[in-house]
């Protein structure tokens, strides 16, 4: 997807956007495959360095990177 608004540099944003969109699609597909009436609300990935939160919407994908709370 095309990043509309970002607080990071462009290349990183583009990379994140592309990768996370695919992941979201996959996750949503998984969720809905199991039960079509279900839908993905939120996706949270916690890693060592960051915590990435993804909120999918019909048209948009909102991605937040946070430091994980200690």
């Amino acid at each position: 997807g095309i990043p509309i608004r970002t607080t990071l540099d462009n290349s990183t944003t583009v990379q994140y956007a592309a990768l996370l969109q695919q992941l979201t699609k996959k996750a949503r597909s998984t969720v809905r495959d199991i039960d079509p009436q279900n839908d993905l609300t939120f996706l949270r990935i916690r890693s060592k360095k960051y915590e990435i939160m993804v909120a999918p919407d019909k048209e948009y994908l909102l991605i937040i990177m946070q430091n994980p709370d200690e």
Binding site: A55, P56, L62, I64
Partner: protein
């Protein structure tokens, strides 16, 4: 030449097969003679004169007459006289030289390698092609050749009967020669290709042909259908989505077909839609992601307040096992909004539908300092920021959610107005508001409560105010219509005013509560400390009066399970529990400070909580301890702060407490405070309310007995 003639005659007679003598060829005369000599050598006999006297040559052989008559046979054979008769070859089988039985009599007199080639052979074709270029010469040459050969042929035919082998030999190659050129003539050059052998005498060539239409090629090609590569996955949910869309379309079409009786409603909807659409036109990128942003906000909050969230969900104070009859309140989130810092929380209410949503009304209890009011709706999922913010001119004093329509909020203001807020609409103004014309109260509205829809299916709610009026407001066709239900009057306070008017001093209602089951029955608490039991049906007369407190009754509340019990609290530091059939309170608690609010717990009939002006919260469980609270806890910072309200969450073991600083604190009840009656597991769920009632009854009986004894 007579000798010759005689020879010929002899030959003619001796050879029966011979035909007519061919004309003597002068060229071959010598050779013939030689042949005659050769042939006659073999069977030479005496000459025979057939009765003719002839001149005898001198050297003629003298023969007797007998010899002369002797017949000599001459046989004409095809044998080669020169062929050897005694060829002997070595025979390997007999291992001896044996004579050959068959001897070849072929004698080749003359051989000549011809230069004729078949017309269809490669060389022939090549030559014919070549000769076609020089076709002028070719016919001439061939014609000369043919003429020569024709002569030869003629001569041949004449001398055909002659048995001369020499002639035969000569003829053979001649014929060969003739044949070959003739054949050479036959494969004519391609140009002069195979002449038709036409009848020379009576032949005309005529050819006809139909006019053949000129062939024209007409092609038509359709435009190639536009092609597109399409790929998709057919998952369960894609199929489901497709079906859902179909369903929606069908439903839409059905709605359009509905009779026009419902157009009124539709118009309303349209109006609503217009409002929303106007606002949505301002949307830009930020607004479009509002939904996602909301979720994210909540998630971020969860992250931030992660430990609190965990506590809320999972933490159960383990130390409660050791502390019998004692519980704690675990502080969870604190809700605050900077704009409400100066306002006091005047009302809290949980949304009946969304168990995590609660509304907080802000105003001021200070009579003199009356400012603006606010109405905020918070959700436990997002402690940082309220979900909805409404401003009002005057302080909000009370609020109530409608049970059936959880988006409708009835609000009472300090200036006596009431309003209805519709959360579904995006406006920040109330949908309906009362005004001086429509009968607002003259004093602050202390409590509002929704009622069931009246007969016309209109929404209605009650409000109570210090002006002594209990008013029922009905929403009729987008307007609030008020009806005075009861006008409170103080008993025995008919003052005699000037001009001997009997002024009725109105009692000031400060709180009321409707009975859960008996719809028309409700309680009113007044500023004088009395509690009136009233009925909707009687507008001027109260059913009963309780002398409850010395000071204003801040809150009355029916027990959610037990139908007879209610609780009241007052600024006179007391909390009392009553049975509405008995004048005296059943239980009485002194809390050492003005009690701001009291609330029954939704899960147990014997648990209730009270908050006081010294920032303490008290939780009582009558089934465990009748006289002392299970928990006394300082919940808010004490400096210039008072707790004003408390509410139990209907689902979660959480209470929210509002204070004068505009903060709302949420606390989790420790397990001891939530003890359920220990019954058999299978039965507990079904018997919930009854168990509670029974529990309370037991207590009451206990209470009553000693009281009756005491009375006695």
């Amino acid at each position: 030449m007579p000798a010759k003639a005689g020879d010929k005659r002899r030959q003619g007679q001796s050879r029966p097969s011979g035909g007519k003598a061919a004309a003597p060829r002068p060229a071959k005369a010598v050779s013939k003679k030689r042949d005659d000599d050769a042939s006659t050598e073999a069977g030479e006999g005496g000459d025979e004169c057939a009765g003719k006297s002839q001149a005898k040559p001198s050297d003629q052989l003298e023969l007797t007459e007998a010899e002369l008559k002797e017949e000599f046979t001459r046989v004409l054979t095809a044998n080669n006289p020169h062929a050897p008769k005694n060829i002997v070859r070595y025979n390997f089988t007999e291992r001896a030289y044996c004579p050959l039985s068959y001897i070849d009599h072929m004698a080749i007199h003359f051989s000549l390698n011809g230069n004729m080639i078949h017309k269809d052979s490669d060389e022939g074709r090549r030559q014919s092609i070549r000769s076609s270029t020089g076709s002028e010469k070719a016919p001439d040459e061939t014609s000369t050749v043919t003429s020569e050969q024709a002569e030869v042929k003629d001569e041949e035919s004449a001398g055909d009967t002659q048995a001369a082998e020499e002639e035969q030999e000569e003829e053979a190659p001649v014929t060969e020669e003739v044949a070959e050129p003739a054949e050479a003539e036959e494969p004519p050059p391609p140009k002069v290709a195979e002449k038709k052998l036409a009848n020379q005498f009576n032949f005309t060539e005529r050819a006809t042909r139909t006019i053949s239409n000129p062939m024209r090629e007409k092609a038509c090609q359709s435009e190639p259908t536009p092609r597109e590569v399409f790929s998709a996955t057919a998952n369960q949910w894609i199929i489901y989505d497709a079906y859902m869309e179909e369903l929606q379309k069908i439903e839409m079409s059905k709605e359009k077909e509905k009779p026009k009786a419902q157009t009124a409603k539709k118009e309303e909807k349209k109006k609503g839609k217009k409002l929303t659409s106007l606002e949505s036109q301002q949307s830009d990128d930020i607004n479009k992601i509002s939904k996602a942003a909301k979720i994210v906000e909540r998630m971020v909050n969860q992250n931030t307040f992660d430990d609190i969230a965990q506590d809320f969900k999972y933490f159960e104070d383990a130390s409660d096992e050791y502390r019998d009859h004692h519980g704690t309140l675990l502080p969870l989130w604190k809700f605050q909004y900077d704009k409400t810092n100066k306002l006091a929380v005047t009302a809290i209410s949980w949304n009946p539908k969304h168990k995590d949503l609660f509304a907080v009304g802000y105003g001021s209890y200070n009579f003199r300092k009356q400012g603006q009011g606010m109405l905020l709706l918070y959700t436990m999922k997002n402690p940082s920021f309220p979900e909805y913010v409404f401003r009002s001119e005057s302080g909000v004093m009370c609020l109530d959610f409608h049970n059936d329509h959880p988006y409708l909020l009835a609000v009472g203001f300090h200036d006596g107005n009431v309003a209805i807020y519709n959360l579904k609409k995006a406006t920040s103004q109330p949908s309906y508001k009362s005004s001086a014309k429509s009968g607002k109260h003259t004093e602050p509205v202390w409590q509002v409560k929704w009622q069931k829809n009246d007969m016309d299916n209109n929404l209605n709610f009650f409000s109570i105010s210090s002006d002594g009026r209990i008013v029922s407001w009905t929403l009729v066709k987008n307007e609030l219509v008020h009806t005075d239900v009861i006008t409170l009057s103080q008993e025995g306070t008919m003052m005699k005013g000037p001009e001997e008017l009997q002024l009725q001093v109105f009692g000031c209602g400060t709180s009321f509560d409707f009975h859960k089951k008996i719809d028309y029955l409700f309680l009113v608490g007044t500023e004088e400390g009395k509690i009136y039991k009233c009925s909707k049906h009687y507008s001027s007369h109260v059913l009963d009066v309780f002398d409850a407190h010395q000071m204003a009754v801040d809150s009355v509340s029916w027990n959610p399970y037990h139908l007879k019990i209610f609780i009241s609290c007052s600024s006179d530091w007391t909390v009392k529990i009553w049975d509405h059939t008995i004048k005296a309170p059943m239980f009485y608690f002194d809390l050492n400070s003005a009690v701001g609010d009291v609330a029954w717990s939704p899960y147990s009939s014997t648990v209730f909580a009270a908050v006081t002006a010294d920032c303490k919260a008290y939780v009582f469980d009558l089934s465990i301890n009748k006289y002392e609270p299970l928990c006394t806890q300082l919940v808010v910072a004490t400096k210039n702060n008072k707790i004003t309200h408390i509410q139990f969450n209907p689902v979660y073991p959480v209470v929210i407490i509002g204070d004068e600083r505009g903060h709302v604190t949420s606390l989790k009840l420790s397990p001891n405070l939530r003890k359920m009656p220990k019954a058999k597991k299978g039965q507990e769920i079904k018997m919930g309310p009854e168990v509670e009632i029974a529990k309370l009854d037991k207590l009451l009986n206990l209470m009553r007995d000693p009281e009756s004894k005491a009375e006695e």
